[in-house]
């Protein structure tokens, strides 16, 4: 059974909080190991790899700046910060790979959120990959028309204009069409939306959320005392 759409957000926020609250370097390192083990146990090996790829360049610079070059804070500080970044990046990748926009919108509607706020979040999540694809198409089309998108830095800078302007202008021109499409569907008509399928809040969701709150509170209390 799937988790409630809000539960993964609560868990990622808890991981981010714990990454900074737990004592360094062992706390963040243990947290990273725990997050990676959870991902592997859930069959999300790709999330562990993606999290490592995102944080790998930062590990390199952390070791250079803090462990090798003079004036750094030492290898322990580099390990702690790298583990923090790795833990949060892996948890975030797990979240994005399980995110279902329509279930999120249904859960937000059922939770009494304003339709505008819920739609803003979901439409943003859906627009991002769409526009990335369009940017790729524009780049390919301009290359086919003779755009030189490589070579010297100046040539690559010049290539920015014929890619960026169609992307920005096309997107802005589309705003009106999309707004009108929403109006036709009575988006601004007010009234509460009735979700057909309300995502269930299971005992597992409650357990995970309260577990996250307790873990963060306990870690914060332990550090303060």
């Amino acid at each position: 059974m799937k988790l409630h759409p809000f539960t993964p957000f609560a868990l990622v926020l808890a991981v981010a909080a714990l990454a900074f609250i737990l004592p360094a370097p062992s706390g963040p390192a243990a947290l990273y190991a725990a997050v990676a083990a959870t991902a592997l146990a859930r069959g999300m090996r790709g999330a562990v790899v993606a999290g490592a790829v995102v944080s790998l360049p930062l590990w390199v610079f952390l070791v250079l700046l803090h462990a090798i070059l003079p004036g750094g804070e030492g290898a322990a500080a580099a390990l702690a910060q790298g583990a923090r970044l790795g833990a949060v990046a892996t948890a975030s990748v797990m979240l994005i790979r399980t995110f279902d926009p329509s279930r999120f919108l249904d859960a937000a509607s059922a939770g009494g959120w304003s339709l505008g706020a819920a739609f803003l979040i979901v439409s943003t999540m859906q627009a991002a990959p769409r526009l990335r694809l369009r940017a790729g198409s524009i780049l390919e089309a301009q290359r086919a028309r003779g755009l030189v998108a490589g070579g010297s830095p100046v040539a690559r800078l010049k290539a920015l204009v014929p890619v960026t302007l169609p992307l920005a202008l096309g997107t802005l021109a589309e705003v009106d069409e999309r707004a009108m499409a929403l109006e036709i569907r009575a988006f601004g008509g007010g009234g509460r939306r009735t979700p057909l399928e309300i995502p269930a809040m299971s005992a597992r969701d409650r357990l995970l959320r309260w577990g996250a709150v307790l873990a963060v509170s306990a870690a914060a209390g332990w550090r303060l005392l």
Partner: protein
């Protein structure tokens, strides 16, 4: 609908710079465009949402940089009020001012929260400067300011060109846009 589209532009620009192999971010064009079209609040929401969505893909750890997006949105709104997108020279000037403000805030966050290690390009410069003998704080500040000034000048020039290229029919819907471009 403007805000989700602008957030998507911000995120897509990361892909464009990556494809072109440019060591720049340009991931605030949507924020600048929204602030220049619909005012500071729309720009701030766009900036914060962009940072939140980017954080989803790359880790929530980058959320503190949302503050930089707020600074950029405020500067862009000020530029729009002062017709700062009327021509390229004005865009360059306002871009440089924004770069200094954004770079200062960014350096503070990088140094305090991230121990100087953030995005690859700026951290490479930080490492190089630290290797040349600058202190960690100095290296982070110089690297952040240098990269942010170049980046924001380009962002403002590209946003200004897009704003001036907007058909009058579209621009007329946004009172801030008419003022920003001095139409």
């Amino acid at each position: 609908m403007l805000i989700p589209s602008a957030v998507a532009i911000n995120l897509a620009m990361g892909f464009v710079t990556n494809q072109l192999g440019l060591p720049l971010y340009l991931d605030t064009i949507g924020t600048v465009l929204t602030a220049a079209l619909a005012g500071p609040w729309a720009g701030i929401v766009t900036g914060l949402l962009s940072q939140a969505v980017r954080s989803l893909y790359e880790g929530f750890i980058w959320l503190p940089f949302g503050l930089v997006q707020v600074v950029i949105a405020l500067c862009a709104a000020l530029a729009a009020r002062a017709a700062g997108f009327r021509d390229t020279a004005r865009s360059v000037g306002w871009g440089a001012i924004t770069g200094i403000a954004a770079g200062a805030v960014s350096a503070l966050i990088s140094h305090v929260v991230f121990r100087g290690v953030t995005a690859t390009g700026v951290t490479a410069i930080t490492t190089l400067l630290a290797g040349l003998g600058l202190s960690r704080a100095e290296a982070v500040t110089v690297a952040s300011l240098a990269t942010d000034i170049v980046d924001k000048v380009l962002v403002f020039v590209l946003a200004g060109t897009a704003l001036r290229g907007l058909p009058l029919r579209v621009a007329a819907r946004y009172p801030w846009a008419m003022r920003a471009t001095g139409r």
